[in-house]
Symmetry: D2
Subunit: 286 residues, 4 copies
């Protein structure tokens, strides 16, 4: 039995769950999992997994015509409710890196065994350092150096490369360049970054150096969507790791890498499985 | 607006969510939060929080007659579905202790500030050690010594005391006595115990001694319902704490106490808020 | 056998460990535990636990004359090395609170069973809210209202009260008043505060509100020494707790309380056991 | 300046630290870090990092003749104390796998960037599944099938392959075969295994299935040395991960893989840096 996913968000109102489940019920579709959330400011979010019920085990949803189901849902729901049925299952992504390999290596291994939930179409970097690693996995590597270019020129070159691949998401896997609002606008809510600190502590550069100097006893990493304000986009996942006075900034960076790569992978899994909604600079994960 | 809670479990089937939400919708009731779960073996669990909708802000649920709502739900749902509407909000509990104070102290402080979600009617102990602490909070303390009594005689004496209070739940807050199946049967799924290990590691006595000897790098605590097999009832909450080779069994016990009392409190909060279902010796927490 | 503690810090140099252990060896004293640390900028820290060796089991250190041992250590060590032998074992503290009970309750229970490593001489508060709780434990409660007083007048009143008790440490157990540099100077490196966030994230007021708005997935608490810059003193202990989008700022505050009280207790245990050195606004914990 | 490492263990006795530091002091060697531990049953362990002191910055330790330093240490220390000076810095290892790639991928990426602290000489597997991954990194892959062979025949074939490489350590990176005592005896305290549970919970096969059925709220992984009793060797590192009722045994296995690979890497880092002593089936990590 094929699993189907319905994503829905809009202003809260009476009977939303009832109306949606009614359409599915009348089509003999069986809800496997249903999660919803209403924000304090009255926005409704729902993610529903369903399949053809046991009595129609042989009937695929397709025979029910998804477009018809969507139409019925739209008729039964108030205007202003956004609906997505069966978003693209495997996303296409381009990964951005600079020189550090740990997050990229993690993504490549997962991709190599089809565990990423996405296809890595290409890797873009402002340095050639990681080309040998990428080559092992037979993925195109685009070295687009930033030296001798203005920020705008560099981003224009990157955008030309992205135009080839038309990716669904960009993954900044330790890409040490700040993106301009113009660039970000091309991939609104579709750029995921891993920041090497427990945001909002230690925004900006050298967070492990900052962490060492502040004498914290715990370090962390944060995966978040990128918006126009550096390090301030909606947070998807975070994790932490204990440190003590013996750890230098370099030690913290080494330890932090393990946290970074796992947090980035976990965040991507949520995003690629269509479990993440964004509202008021916060993520709702259903 | 009063919040209402509906708890439901039974065999999964088509349209369950739709039917329940339909009854609430027709009564103009607004779902604040709805969580459901279907187990792999086909059991459906749902917990629904709702209140009178904004358009009926002045109308309490009472005016809708809860009994009528329950009746409608029963008519619309298949036989075999268990329904509970608005379970008793503040539970009555009797706490059992032996000599250790940390869990009891935690519960008393929370109770003293009305943060426990329950009323502590009495404390029962096989030793008098903790009487002074309990007295500070003006709660009856029953010292029922086990010495010179058979297990059956001792439990009979305890049961006579419990008969005075008719508690909803028993909380074993480091009660170092094994209960007989007969005793447990009186409070089926209503006894919560804190076990000083990360179950199922180190069942039985002296878990920290066992942990030390095994050389583990993490210790933990487990809050669980008590059933007939010691330390094998459904687990409600667990947490862990890192240790190293320097920690003796005594150090581990000291560190473990902080974990134990927090885990027990968290488990009780879930139980007292009617968020815990039991199925096949596992808890479902909605 | 009595355990003795030697604390030492100063500029690093050749043979420091050798010289200290030599004095102890010649007195037949046995090192139970020795921890040292050299900071990247060349400061040496050492904490040594020792006792009379098995061959002198009957001989207390006192018979060796601690002053003589200290004198020998001073002769053998370079000038500029600070030495403390057997710091006062049980510290005297005054606890400061405002209206929240969770940290205070924790400290009182631990003190009541002599597990705090300190004597609570008194509790000071700018509100009377917690007087009933403190009274249960037979500890003086000083309600020093801040209303109608300037900050200086209020602190002067507090200092007059402290003059009665001459405490070794002040513990700010959710004391919601900012202290002036003048006040802090009276208890330099002897004031421990619990801050309800994972510092340096969310300094200042309403950290859980800030955490909610930023949409973090982890909250935390920080115990630190107080210096002149609010929330910027040396960090002693931190811990964290996962949250998700469902948690309101109020939920986070409730969950955070459990973290706060445990972190504060752990920090105090380290401080009262003389395991904490301060250097360059960072703590070294041996 | 070269860093030197001295490892020492033996029966505790008076003046051990003093004697060792004396030899180093007389040679003008500077202690960078010194950690020691005395077990409750009286065994002394010490790990000392040192280098030529600032006054002899130009003089390598070699010019002091390490053999002479070792001789002096032996003369000054009681018989029965084991000493190792400057153990081999980069270990040679052979990695064993079956079909799962996550731990192997982690080790290969780290090795590829020289972050493992060891050279992977070869990978041995009872299946061919992971050959393509290993080939990407240019490392010999030995497929030694177990089918059609007795356990003894299979292990004999493996030992013949190992004879080629003479590895310092074997790393069982999800090798799903039980080793015989005979085999283990060839690599006593030199085989590191990752077990997919929080030992000692869920020894044996299918730990995630067991964890699911027991309804635990936390899963974990354990890296340990292998001895003759399956899953009972000295534990090096452990970590845990929260789960809930929604996670199937398969989900737990997926989540557990992230924990397994990080725990294995952390354990190997400790082992390869000569920070792990073994005593009474427990590890002491200095």
């Amino acid at each position: 039995m094929t699993k189907h996913i319905l994503l829905m968000d809009g202003p809260d109102g009476p009977g939303l769950i009832h109306h949606v489940t009614g359409v599915l019920f009348r089509h003999g579709l069986n809800i496997i999992r249903n999660d919803e959330y209403v924000s304090p400011d009255g926005q409704f979010f729902m993610r529903t997994e369903f399949e053809a019920g046991p009595q129609q085990a042989g009937i695929a949803l397709d025979s029910h015509d998804p477009q018809q189901i969507l139409d019925e849902l739209r008729q039964t729901l108030p205007a202003g409710v956004s609906l997505r049925l069966n978003p693209k299952q495997k996303k296409n992504v381009v990964v951005f890196v600079t020189k550090e390999h740990h997050c990229l290596g993690e993504l490549l291994i997962r991709y190599g065994f089809d565990e990423l939930g996405a296809d890595i179409l290409a890797v873009v970097s402002n340095y050639a350092t990681l080309q040998p690693l990428v080559s092992k996995f037979g993925i195109p590597f685009h070295h687009i150096a930033h030296e001798g270019k203005t920020r705008e020129e560099h981003e224009a070159a990157v955008l030309r490369t992205l135009a080839i691949y038309q990716p669904d998401y960009l993954v900044l896997a330790k890409y040490m360049r700040v993106l301009t609002p113009d660039f970000v606008a091309h991939y609104n809510n579709r750029i995921v970054n891993i920041h090497h600190s427990f945001l909002p502590a230690f925004v900006g550069a050298s967070p492990y150096r900052q962490a060492y100097e502040r004498g914290v006893k715990i370090i962390g990493a944060t995966a978040h969507f990128v918006n126009n304000n550096l390090d301030e986009g909606p947070i998807i996942a975070q994790d932490t790791q204990e440190v003590d006075h013996r750890h230098t900034a370099t030690d913290m960076a080494t330890m932090g890498r393990d946290v970074e790569k796992i947090v980035l992978s976990q965040a991507l899994k949520l995003v690629f499985n269509d479990r993440v909604f964004i509202h008021q600079n916060r993520t709702i994960i259903l």
